[in-house]
């Protein structure tokens, strides 16, 4: 039976390291130094923006600073999301043979593990507008994906009992989007899963559901693991030279702008 490695490694107090590790475990998987991995993790009070986004256009930066909410960029496209401990993130780095359409593999197939997880928790989730997971007409989760480095990568966040007031305070909602969705404020489009289901949900419950959801989808047996020494080393380098830097987080520099880092990574990943 196929194996699925599960990592619960997280650094909620340091969102820069959390995102550095996201790239690290993906690239280490891509280099075949680990096997297919599902990572489940949390950030404490951060805004995570997409690879193509302008930080100041998406986030009220002064307000975020005042509230101690840090802004960090991820390596996938898509929109800005607010994270706190009431938000659970999942990420997969998978290799697969014979995939005809990588985009549909990611956004139609691989997203299915999260949908199964939500069903296991008693919800009736629907996939809308490519990457939104909606329960009872409210968006509780969004995903983003990449095929960079030769691996199928998908990650997403599930609002479980996040502080939606803080979310509304720091995220800018472009008027062009409001017109489209016919709503007045960001907090009315998204909702916490606990509110939608009308009951408290624990971190443990979410972890169990996500692991089971992906075991079922991938027909795999899971085991919980610790980060490998390569993942730790790669994450440290990515943290030091990219994810802790304004050039990456605020100024939208592409991966290719970090040449020294790539040279150092080559020594580990080659």
């Amino acid at each position: 039976m196929r194996e699925l490695r599960v990592l619960l490694y997280e650094t909620p107090h340091d969102p820069y390291m959390n995102l550095a590790f996201e790239e690290a475990f993906t690239r280490v998987r891509a280099a075949d130094l680990t096997c297919d991995t599902l990572r489940i993790w949390r950030n404490d009070r951060a805004v995570v923006i997409g690879y193509f986004q302008e930080a100041g256009a998406e986030v009220k930066l002064a307000e975020a600073e005042k509230l101690g909410i840090r802004v960090v960029r991820r390596f996938t496209g898509g929109g800005a999301v607010y994270h706190d401990l009431g938000n659970i993130n999942f990420a997969l780095a998978i290799k697969a043979e014979g995939v005809k359409d990588p985009i549909s593999y990611l956004y139609s197939y691989l997203i299915g593990g999260a949908l199964r997880a939500l069903k296991l928790l008693g919800a009736s989730p629907r996939l809308e507008n490519v990457n939104d997971i909606v329960v009872n007409q409210r968006k509780v989760s969004g995903v983003a994906a990449s095929t960079r480095w030769g691996v199928y990568f998908l990650h997403g966040c599930i609002l479980v009992n996040a502080d939606l007031t803080a979310l509304a305070k720091v995220l800018r909602v472009p008027k062009e989007k409001l017109r489209d969705k016919g709503v007045s404020e960001v907090k009315y489009r998204v909702a916490n899963l606990s509110e939608v289901l009308g009951r408290e949900l624990s971190y443990r419950e979410l972890v169990k559901a996500l692991v089971k959801g992906y075991e079922e989808l991938l027909k795999a047996e899971s085991y919980v693991d610790l980060p490998s020494k390569e993942e730790v080393r790669v994450a440290q380098l990515l943290y030091e030279y990219k994810y802790s830097r304004n050039e990456w987080n605020l100024y939208r520099a592409p991966h290719s702008a970090f040449k020294n880092l790539e040279e150092k990574l080559k020594e580990i990943l080659a």
Binding site: A80, I103, S146
Partner: protein, 101 residues
Amino acid sequence: MSHSLAYEAVKKARKGLIRVKIVVDERSRRIADVRITGDFFMYPEDALWKLEDELRGAALDASEVTAKVRRALEGVRLVGSTPEDFTEAVLAALRGAGVRE
């Protein structure tokens, strides 16, 4: 004295917003700099920077700009948006500089 002026536009695609900021060199009537940002999905991702490179130095001419956007996005997989959305966003920004289609 600077002869550059900046223009902006936002285009809503089916999925995602495309924001364009363009700096125009008024003397040469060419694009001096361009920055395209937003919450769209593009594969391979770094095609976005190639698109910006392609547009730098382009003449303020709608058909030249359209051809350059098309060329840069050839073979690029967009999810929830189209190359036309990107063309429209760039041309919308350039309308401020007097470019007409």
